[in-house]
Symmetry: C2
Subunit: 551 residues, 2 copies
């Protein structure tokens, strides 16, 4: 039996229901709420058997592309990158000098009536989503005077004033709902007439918002036997700092020279005020970060290189180009030390038709190495984090440059280009991208159309019926394939039900052993997306599958 | 050029210097102290580029053997195991019901003079190591009356009394130093004459020990905006509980039936009082745990199965049989709910000629699932954690058993066999096992003789000299191999120095392109351990390496 291909129906992100996706993720073992039997814990998720496999597949591909077989650089040679796995808990001085103790704060606003708490810089978006209003509310002003400026500017020009930190959200809002602003006084009661919003679940009562207060996003703990301020440590809010701390160790012990990168995958923690959108913003999450150290005068070249490389990498996961954009940060979005930053953004069902962050590629200058380097403002560090560029020295000598200049220029603090993305966010993107409602198909209500390389289960192996020697042949094929790939044997229920289950967990191929197999040693292979069925030789299945998974 | 094989000199664990190994680990990028530029943080370590690669190789092999391609069970069919990745932070109720809030405590003893703090149940060993005495000091008694009993028993019989929790340490001590006990009164001054020990670094002054006090080993933190007792959560001290919490989720969403296992790899945290012995006992570490759920009356069979399987698995890492033992726990070592437990132990340089823990395979009965199950003592759980065994029901029906008995016997709380090991401890074992001083060899002072499958770098590719077309051929070979394996290209320094570096980082094979390569398209391959060199065809290198790494 062979069947012709039919196209997989495509669904726009805005037409995908997050509720349905979350339900499928639970039902099929991708993602469970953490501690569900104890009522859960807000902002924490557990990855089920299939979610773990999917996450591992993405993790391994990133590691392969970044550490084991990095891309060819602008000069055609493979770039040099090494891996690292630093502790989640580091000496607390780390976070003082990185700026996270002083600066890693969210402005929070409470509603005194509902007792709900909001991130001031998210409130604009938040209110829109909660109340489904067709206007925006900006509450991000530092004080009433600034709020007045914002109001005035919005009323006069339709745009927020220059330097207004919430500009991005206002922009997004315009894109989202076509604009229109209402503002209100902080610390005063917002009446339904003024705002037509409220913070109570019923959506009818009025609420009073407090002034924004700061709240540090780092979770803290006390390693060691003594519990005092001196022994307070933090769970890292990013893996990046562990890399900067080890810059000199790597330089001294590995055969690397600038330019080179250090890459790391691992858990980070942020005490998000409003964890939301499934696993998009959770309090415990996994990151994939790489710090690329380069000579200052080559930094723009490397920034452009990684900007393009990382965009291509996301395409290699099977994400469609129309759902993926590169968005350069405006000057007023940049950190003071950063000269450029670009976000890779994805059209999530909950942001569509807008986009939401997926990866940031930042030009961090020499900010981090300088901050952790011995001397200057840093009296705690025992190590100078700079680099002596021997090749540059030789080049300058050959150019006849004077000794003083050579000495000055050959030792420098490398600049850093940082492609930083979330592994758990990548899982979310592949789940959203693969999620395809198929109401018109027989059997499968949903298909998870993962690119085969990333599918948690690569193939199903079925005997058509559980007799006539078919199970023995199928079992033999299963035993052959399982040593190489994640595959499943299934001999229960009707073949249609077995296909439907494989569609929902995203298994790209199903091999069925039927009556003809026993005669001519061929099996059918069924394609998850096109439903096409063709016959291939039993002894070619393994090689056929290898080839498909290498694509 | 071909060279004959010579045997790698073997070094007994007791002759391996931990100081030298730790220095090599730092020098070659295996393990760095965490936050070294800020003076470090006790009990925390960072894994350098090679340590990370080694750790990943072990991690992937465990996952392959446990989840992707589990072993054949007693019936000849592959056992059923799925993966999981649960949060480090769970709802705090988890740790109340698991017993960790109430019971996961260490008895601590302070020296009032030196201000040092000791785990009472480690002090015996600790003093021996610190002072290098030929007798032991037991300080584990709960009170003075018990201490008196212990003293008496030791004096009369040479053995501690029945049920004495420190029995294991006393046993080890005997093995280690040939016995001989001195005891002293808690809370009194121990004079040098009595003990010939002290807790000061100089080793001369006397110290006063306090009574043991309890100290919880879990690190805590406060997720969410409010910092009060109700919102206190814990960093998991083991990954196992995340598995028990998801037992029902996995059962309901995956196609599994008892017997089956759930496996997980991830970070855990224990606020160890005396982190020591390099990465053997650290405060942040990585675990590889599997919970195997089985019918109560099959549990002994599965216990025996996993006991043997896990021992074999450690051998598959290349650990030699003489350094690896299975040690059954005595009845008085077992937790009250456990009917059997066995440790896989390794002869570490710091325990030799004795052994230290590496993995525990425990029969945990129905303790954990019962503890987290709705009802009974647990008023917090919303889920009953039991299992309806349909196959058993059918079997009992066919046997003509009465309905009431069938109903009673077909629903049960599965028993659990738990093979639990440390990934970071496995790294330590492979580092210790591979570490081979070779003072009599030219070039290499040390060889890290990892089994090729686990070596961080699989091959070095060298042009003999950096001219005459050799670099081009070598680079081409490198570009071919690097898409499949971690390999390094090195064209710098003398060939001897390049070999020596590869020996120290444990690279099993070096391919050298020389003059003859250009004539007959062959390369030399040099074996790290035997120093044998043979020539193989250039176009066979990739297949040759694949075959070696599959061993």
């Amino acid at each position: 039996m062979t069947t012709d291909a039919q196209p997989l129906p495509r669904t726009a992100p805005e037409d995908k229901s997050m509720d349905d996706l979350v339900a499928l993720c639970k039902r099929r073992g991708f993602v469970y709420p953490a501690s569900e039997i104890y009522g859960g814990l807000r902002g924490f998720w557990d990855y089920g058997p299939l979610g773990t496999q999917l996450k591992n597949n993405i993790r391994d591909w990133w590691w392969k592309c970044m550490v084991e077989c990095p891309p060819l650089g602008p000069d055609g040679e493979p770039v040099s990158i090494v891996g690292l796995d630093s502790s989640i808990i580091q000496n607390p001085k780390t976070w003082e000098h990185s700026g996270h103790v002083g600066g890693f704060n969210d402005p929070l606003i409470d509603c005194t009536e509902s007792k709900k708490r909001y991130r001031a810089d998210h409130l604009l978006i938040y209110l829109i989503r909660e109340g489904d209003l067709n206007f925006g509310v900006s509450t991000v002003a530092a004080d009433e005077a600034q709020a007045e400026d914002i109001r005035e500017s919005l009323e006069k020009t339709g745009d927020p004033p220059q330097g207004f930190q919430d500009k991005l959200f206002v922009k997004r809002l315009k894109q989202y709902k076509g604009g229109g602003y209402v503002t209100f006084k902080l610390g005063t009661t917002a009446t339904p007439e003024e705002l037509a919003i409220t913070f109570s679940p019923e959506g009818t009562k009025q609420g009073t918002l407090t002034e924004p207060r700061t709240f540090n996003l780092m979770l803290d703990t006390y390693p060691g036997p003594i519990r005092d301020e001196e022994n307070k440590a933090y769970l890292r809010p990013e893996t990046a700092q562990g890399i900067f701390l080890n810059f000199k160790n790597v330089l001294d012990t590995m055969r690397v020279k600038v330019p080179f990168g250090i890459a790391q995958i691992g858990k980070s923690f942020r005490n998000e005020v409003t964890p939301r959108n499934f696993i998009f913003r959770s309090r415990e999450f996994e990151q994939m970060e790489m710090e690329f150290f380069c000579p200052p005068d080559e930094s723009q070249k490397w920034y452009a290189f990684w900007r393009d490389e990382r965009y291509k990498w996301w395409l290699s996961l099977g994400v469609s180009e129309e759902n993926l954009i590169l968005r350069d940060h405006d000057d007023d979005e940049l950190a003071h030390y950063s000269s450029a930053c670009v976000d890779v953004e994805y059209k999530y069902p909950f942001t569509a038709p807008g986009f939401g962050e997926l990866e940031g590629v930042a030009h961090r200058g020499c900010y981090d190495l300088t901050a952790h380097s011995k001397g200057g403002d840093n009296k705690d560090s025992n190590t100078k984090l700079d680099y002596f560029d021997q090749e540059l020295q030789v080049r300058l000598q050959n150019e006849g440059v004077d000794k003083e200049t050579i000495k000055e220029r050959s030792r420098y603090v490398p600049h850093v280009i940082e492609p930083a993305s979330g592994l758990t966010r990548a899982v979310l993107v592949l789940l959203c991208e693969a999620f395809t409602p198929t109401p018109d198909r027989d059997g499968s209500k949903y298909i998870m159309s993962f690119k085969p390389k990333f599918a948690p289960v690569k193939a199903g192996i079925f005997p058509l019926v559980n007799k006539d020697g078919m199970p023995e042949v199928a079992q033999k094929l299963y035993n052959e394939l399982r040593t190489k790939h994640m595959v499943e044997y299934d001999g229960k229920q009707s073949i249609g039900k077995r296909y439907a289950r494989m569609d929902e967990i995203g298994t790209p191929f199903c091999f069925t052993i039927d009556g003809q197999t026993l005669e001519d040693q061929t099996v059918t292979v069924r394609d998850r997306d096109t439903l096409a069925q063709e016959r291939i030789a039993l002894d070619q299945v393994s090689a056929w599958l290898d080839a498909k998974l290498a694509e």
